[in-house]
């Protein structure tokens, strides 16, 4: 059965007709051509389909597109702005936290959600936040290092740009980046 959904994806309003059984992941990839989120296990085990739903990290293979109606979705494509990479994307490159790259969008989206809640995460915080993202290449060390490096860069940028208001010290959250 088809339903009409309206939602915001990376800051852009979208309206579409979708089958009820279509996952958010399938809708993003096939309907909107946003192929950054990947289908790995398709049962919520691997995390390669991670996107932000109203700012929360979710496995988009476990969300129906109809459930996302009226909500805000941010994908890996929404983290960079005008061809400028997000600090996490830059750090993953500079730390060689990528090999085959399949898990990378999911890793970065989960990490972006973490840094929004905890600008200065411990190693344990990073590992726990990424526990739902599998990588079969890098062994995770480079990934954890990249997250710490990006966190430091985002804190530094926030303190330079800060003007003493309550948000100073908070990293640029994903929504702000796409806004």
């Amino acid at each position: 059965m088809k339903k009409t959904i309206t939602l915001e994806v990376n800051g852009v309003p979208e309206t579409a007709e979708v089958e009820v059984g279509t996952t958010l992941l399938r809708f993003l990839r096939d309907g909107l051509d946003l192929t950054g989120a990947k289908e790995g296990c398709n049962e919520g085990e691997c995390g390669s389909c991670m996107v932000l739903l109203d700012g929360r990290p979710v496995n988009s293979c476990l969300v129906l597109a109809v459930e996302a109606s009226g909500r805000r979705v941010t994908t890996i494509e929404g983290l960079s702005k005008d061809d400028v990479l997000h600090p996490l994307q830059k750090a993953f490159l500079s730390h060689a936290a990528i090999q085959c790259g399949f898990c990378t969008p999911g890793m970065i989206v989960s990490a972006a959600a973490l840094l929004r809640e905890k600008p200065e995460p411990s190693e344990d915080d990073v590992r726990k936040a990424l526990a739902g993202n599998l990588c079969r290449c890098t062994g995770y060390r480079q990934i954890v290092d990249a997250v710490h490096s990006a966190a430091a860069e985002m804190r530094a940028a926030a303190s330079v740009g800060g003007n003493g208001n309550a948000d100073a010290g908070k990293p640029a959250a994903c929504e702000e980046v796409t806004a």
């Binding site: 009820v20 979710v58 476990l62 989960s110 526990a131 739902g132």
Partner: protein, 279 residues
């Protein structure tokens, strides 16, 4: 997924209950269990009733006796960081944060974890230990099911067809228990417990009250009142005796996560460890 699958989003409990009257209707909360089950062909509902647009189900609110009521649609990620949960019912937070992984817990709910009635449900042991009550609604009316009567077997609960869990209530009398949930699994995230052992002790009451509950070592999550009584009578000095009693009380099976023998041994080790840490 079938092409004629329908999807409805009621905005009140009464509406949701009325919709369930049509055969083949399934409630949808986080979907973290239901959607994989549907994809694997183990469940085949003809229509889904999404409960997440019902405003009243999203609240964690205080109840008159100093307890907390946790709405059915509250995700576990919110339970595990809620200040009142951490302050009064830290054992629930301990258990909640071991379910799946952080992103999964943004969708998965306490009510959903309960309704699956999995013997390995991590939050079930906290709810058993804290003597929670499950509030349900149906076209017949509303009732409260004490958690000790809720789990009947693997995948089987005391819910009648058409009954909707609206909230889980933690009574004020259970506030203040401290302790730990000791959990073994093959990897730290995204795996079900091989063995889960909760040991808790009341804070400030004399004589101290103890709580011991187990996951993944019997057809249902278990609370071991006899083991608690041992610890209440003799304190942590009886840790080894309590461990032996727990070892004998559990009824584990062998499956891909571990053998029955291993599970039984680990119940003893973890009960002893948990009790000693609270000595």
């Amino acid at each position: 997924m079938p092409s004629d699958l329908d999807f409805l989003s009621p905005t009140s409990v009464d509406e949701a209950i009325a919709l369930k009257a049509v055969p083949g209707t399934a409630w949808l909360l986080g979907g973290t269990d239901l959607l994989p089950q549907m994809r694997a062909g183990r469940k085949a509902p003809g229509r889904l009733v999404d409960l997440k647009r019902i405003p009243g189900l999203h609240e964690i609110r205080e109840v008159a006796d100093g307890g907390l009521s946790i709405g059915a649609a509250v995700p576990l990620a919110d339970v595990e960081v809620h200040p009142d949960v951490l302050d009064r019912f830290p054992l629930l937070a301990e258990c909640a944060k071991t379910v799946g992984a952080w992103p999964l817990r943004q969708r998965a709910t306490l009510a959903g974890n309960l309704c699956n009635a999995s013997p390995a449900a991590d939050t079930a042991v906290a709810l058993l230990a804290l003597e929670a009550e499950v509030e349900v609604a149906s076209t017949v009316g509303r009732r409260t099911i004490p958690i000790r009567e809720f789990f009947l077997g693997p995948g089987l609960s005391a819910l009648e067809p058409g009954e909707l869990v609206t909230a889980v209530v933690l009574p004020g009398a259970s506030a203040g228990f401290r302790g730990s949930y000791l959990r073994l699994s093959r990897r730290k995230g995204m795996d079900l417990a091989t063995v889960g052992v909760l040991v808790g002790k009341s804070n400030g009451t004399l004589p101290a009250r103890w709580r011991v509950a187990l996951a993944a070592v019997a057809p249902t999550p278990l609370r071991l009142r006899a083991v608690e009584e041992l610890l209440e009578a003799k304190g942590a000095a009886a840790a080894s005796e309590a461990a032996e009693a727990a070892r004998l009380a559990c009824r584990p099976i062998t499956d891909l996560r571990g053998s029955a023998e291993y599970r039984r041994e680990m119940v003893g080790v973890l009960v002893r460890r948990g009790a000693l840490s609270l000595g």
